[in-house]
Amino acid sequence: MGEETTLKIQKIRNGVVIDHIPSGRALKVLKILGIDEGVTSTVSVAIHVPSRKGGWKDIVKIEDRELSDEELNRIILVAPRATINIIRDYRVVEKHRVEVPETIEGIVKCINDMCVTNKREPVRTFFTVVSKDPLRIKCVYCEAEMERDDIVENII
């Protein structure tokens, strides 16, 4: 991570750093992780910082916290190119890029009001991923397609 960025946000001792979040999406990531007034760990957020790869990005650092697979799956949808760094004793012990899956079960509500999954039937939503970049998904029930912004708005 570039010197500039590390100066802006303090290093963390133990926890997780979510890097390469699309600029402006950090607050969505916080929402997905349930970080609100009940938060018990220190969270640092950098919004609109220059990316070494060019352009702009957001970064979220959370101390003393691990991400569950379920949380990771949600983050993928708002930040398909994020990298997840696991920090122990100030050092990155694991670093992996998120991978958009072939299908998405639950997590997202279908955008189509007339879709049977929005009608109090005992089913979870189920989408196939039509395109990973840019992210586009398709409801297997009503075949409605959703793009990035629709997906972000409809995360359950």
């Binding site: 007339m114 049977v116 029930y141 409605a144």
Partner: protein
């Protein structure tokens, strides 16, 4: 006859049917024609029960399914609208389907919500046939449309087929365009500008063929082998005067037919209002009533096939 290739299968979307399955349905439908006409009797499905679950009315589709089952000696239970059923008490579709599944061997579902048939198929043990799910899929309509073209023209691939009217909201034309493209027909999309084929359908079609889009039927009438007409609805237009002007330029009449090929046919999913002038009915080009009849043998074939007796 080959192995029963559709035995136990759900018919939810035309996209999930392989070409050889569709061809097999056509072959069995051909055998069913004399029975559908009442010229021959059959007890092929004697002892089988069809649950006909119509959560919204659809006279033609429901009657043709029920006629299909009864022509083959089977029984029918069900309802023709959700009025007076447990649905009004708030029962979920999933529960209604599981109940009907226990009383029948095959289920036909018509429902206002998109994806309803897929949900029904997940909850039912027996095969489910989608008879239209809101603005979603209506695979048996597509099958009978394809069957009609195949029967009348001897083939589908290579034909010049025009889809005319409301291509934006008409669900029939969406599934049909996709299926025709798969069979390698040359497609012409003819509609007013504001009712053009949605881009996502065009994208899917373009995997097989490049459709020609125009707003003027006169420009292409001489090229067409088949014209599939759909109704342009008044409520799609903010201005009634605009509607009258547009709808008027999409009326199929004798004058237009004079410029068509000799073998040219006109189809329509019905009901029609005034998009095909009644004088066309008596011409050899008019095939919409044949098309409506074909719904019966095609549905007979499907019922017999998913039940594994053909």
């Amino acid at each position: 006859m080959a192995m029963p290739m559709l035995k136990g299968k759900d018919i939810v979307s035309i996209k999930e049917m392989k070409e050889e399955e569709i061809e097999a349905v056509f072959r069995v439908a051909d055998e069913m024609v004399p029975i559908a006409r009442g010229e021959e009797r059959s007890d092929l499905l004697h002892g089988y029960v069809l649950a006909s679950l119509f959560f919204e009315p659809s006279t033609r589709t429901r009657l043709s399914f029920e006629a299909a089952m009864q022509r083959l000696g089977g029984g029918v239970i069900g309802f023709s609208s959700s009025a007076g059923t447990s649905v009004e008490k708030g029962e979920t579709l999933a529960d209604t389907v599981r109940m009907a599944d226990g009383y029948s061997d095959v289920i036909v579902v018509r429902h206002p919500y998109q994806g309803a048939a897929r949900l029904a198929a997940e909850f039912a043990e027996h095969p489910v046939i989608n008879a239209g799910d809101g603005a979603g899929q209506h695979p048996t309509q597509t099958l009978l449309d394809l069957y009609t073209i195949k029967k009348e023209m001897g083939k589908i691939g290579g034909l010049n087929i025009g889809l005319l009217g409301d291509l934006k909201y008409g669900r029939t034309v969406h599934s049909l365009a996709y299926a025709l493209a798969r069979f390698r027909a040359n497609l012409y999309f003819i509609s007013p500008d504001i009712l053009r084929m949605p881009r996502h359908i065009v994208r899917e079609v373009e995997r097989y063929t490049r459709p020609y889009e125009t707003s003027d039927i006169n420009e292409v009438i001489g090229d067409l082998d088949v014209l599939y007409v759909t109704r342009i609805q008044k409520e799609r237009f903010p201005d009634p005067a605009e509607y009258r002007k547009v709808a008027g330029s999409y009326v199929i009449d004798l004058d237009l037919l004079r410029r068509a090929k000799d073998t040219f046919i006109v189809m329509h999913p019905l009901p029609r209002v005034n998009e095909i002038s009644p004088e066309v009915d008596k011409t050899k080009h008019a095939k919409y009533f044949v098309q409506a009849f074909n719904g019966v043998p095609v549905r007979m074939a499907l019922l017999a096939m998913v039940l594994g007796v053909r």
